[in-house]
Amino acid sequence: MVQVLLFFVLLSTGFSQESSARLLKTEETFSFLVLVTLCSLIFYFIQQAKSGKKLWIRRIPALASVEEAVGRATEMGKACVFIPGIMDIDDIQTLAGLNILGSVARKTAEYDTDLKVPVAKSMVLSTAQDVVKEAYYRTGHPDTFNEGNIQFVTDDQFAFAASVNGTLVREKPAAIIMLGTFYAESLLIAETGNHIGAIQIAGTAETSQLPFFVASCDYVLIGEELFAASAYLSNDPMLLGSLKGQDYAKMLLIVFMLYGVFAELSIRFFGFPEFLSLIQYL
């Protein structure tokens, strides 16, 4: 972590000396400063958490219901399906989904419930296999791990939806968890899940797909909740610290927004253009 801090400090020094040498892309100054501030806040609260300060996170119903969903699948003797979106491993939402897959797999391993993971990208396949395998080993159930349950289907969006829908209709799983990047296939899968009566938990940062998930699923993780999920599920103080830092960054942004609104209003109603100079600079 020290090297990260050092990295930012060195770069910031570079910005302060920008007039002497054209080494830094000055047009990116604002973006860079935002990034440094955000990362510093996260870093500070991680350190706070490390020093033993207690941190609290509000209850997220969708995540609290993961256990309920797996429990229901166990009671009914049916499988649990986890879909980490349709994008590749370089998509941060896919990674967030895979981070949660570990927790889900630990629960299915403990309850001895089948966990099926259809994936749309081959890079995600090997990662998902590793994540599930680790969960089964860590909980002491390596014998029940079935590599064939984590399956590459196709990287074509609608062919993937067709295949998953076919699996859902034929096998009628009791629980379906969809966490990652989803596009038009979101409604196709979620409606089929709803039709077969499965308990459904979904989460994505794709704003255009959220209404479909809300209409068809029992619980939905909206936007940033998806990225907070791993911290919530693991309860790791360091991860919780990073969430706190993120919240403070959000507050800072709200202050900026309020300033923008105030500046705009001051010009409209009082004719004070001075307030805008900072915004124009940014």
């Binding site: 370089d90 990047t181 596009y183 038009a184 255009s208």
Partner: protein, 273 residues
């Protein structure tokens, strides 16, 4: 009756929707349409380009969303050919170039336009990271990304390519996009970093997301779904597939509204009981 409606099999709903869509397609109603401000803004920018200006059209969709997005592409190409603009087709989707080939073939009929002089189909360029890398490459050096065009000939041999080295040389870029990669990549890289004018044509489902980009001036125009295509066709004064599909969409919306009303009546009766 109430029991039947309460547990209405969704197949009845499917039949109703199928009829609502099919009947107006067979017997068009010819309902008039008033273009919205987003489509007007898109049309105005393209219309303001001088003859010989460079318009890049990114075909970021495949057959799945062809019905919704292809009419947009065709209307824009029609407008560009009429205005004697140079049209460059690129794609972030593997199936995009064949969409471009089809749109150019349909729109170049009966028009004095020559491939390689008035328009070109540069093809598909693969790259990771949901289009960001591809658009970054296009913004720096487009010839490096597309050494040969869709007809497998060196792009340097075409007249249209002189003076067109990167997206920065384009007078406007319009991404007709079914999702990612598509408009977000052009907004994040071409517009935010290189100040290139970007317009968007998207599916109706994803259109709400892009109103924020329109409001902040990151895109100069927005065509949402079949209605967007119909609006552009109205402005361009042509009768394309967008306008002919609007009757079907009207009836489908009406059926859904009636279904919602029905479901609420059932809910109220149930509550009273």
């Amino acid at each position: 009756m109430l029991e039947f409606l309460k547990n209405l099999d969704r197949r009845y709903i499917f039949v109703l929707i199928a009829l609502a869509v099919a009947i107006p397609l067979i017997m068009p109603l010819g309902l008039p349409l008033t273009p919205g401000p987003e489509a007007k803004s898109m049309y105005k920018v393209v219309d303001s380009l001088e003859p010989g200006s460079k318009l890049v059209l990114s075909f970021d969709y495949d057959p799945a969303s062809k019905a919704e997005l292809h009419p947009m592409s065709e209307a824009i190409i029609h407008h560009a050919f009429r205005k004697k603009l140079k049209v460059y087709a690129i794609s972030l989707y593997p199936a995009g170039p064949s969409m471009a080939t089809n749109a150019f073939a349909n729109m170049s009929k009966d028009k004095e336009v020559v491939y390689g002089k008035d328009y070109i189909n540069l093809g598909f360029y693969y790259g990771p990271n949901t289009g960001l890398n591809q658009v970054a490459v296009f913004s720096q050096d487009i010839v490096n990304a597309f050494p040969v065009d869709e007809r497998k000939k060196p792009v340097g041999s075409y007249e249209i390519m002189s003076g067109f080295k990167s997206l920065k040389d384009a007078d406007a870029v319009i991404s007709i996009s079914a999702g990612d990669p598509g408009v977000p990549a052009y907004v994040s890289v071409a517009n935010a970093i290189h100040n290139i004018k970007v317009g968007a044509g998207v599916t109706a489902v994803s259109a709400p997301r892009f109103y924020a980009y329109m409001d902040s001036g990151q895109i100069f125009g927005l065509l949402g779904g079949l209605r967007g295509a119909a609006e552009y066709e109205t402005l361009e004064k042509i009768k394309g597939k967008g306008l002919s599909g609007m009757d079907a969409q009207s009836m489908a919306h009406l059926v859904i509204i009636l279904l919602i009303i029905l479901s609420n009546i059932i809910y109220i009766i149930e509550k009273k009981d």
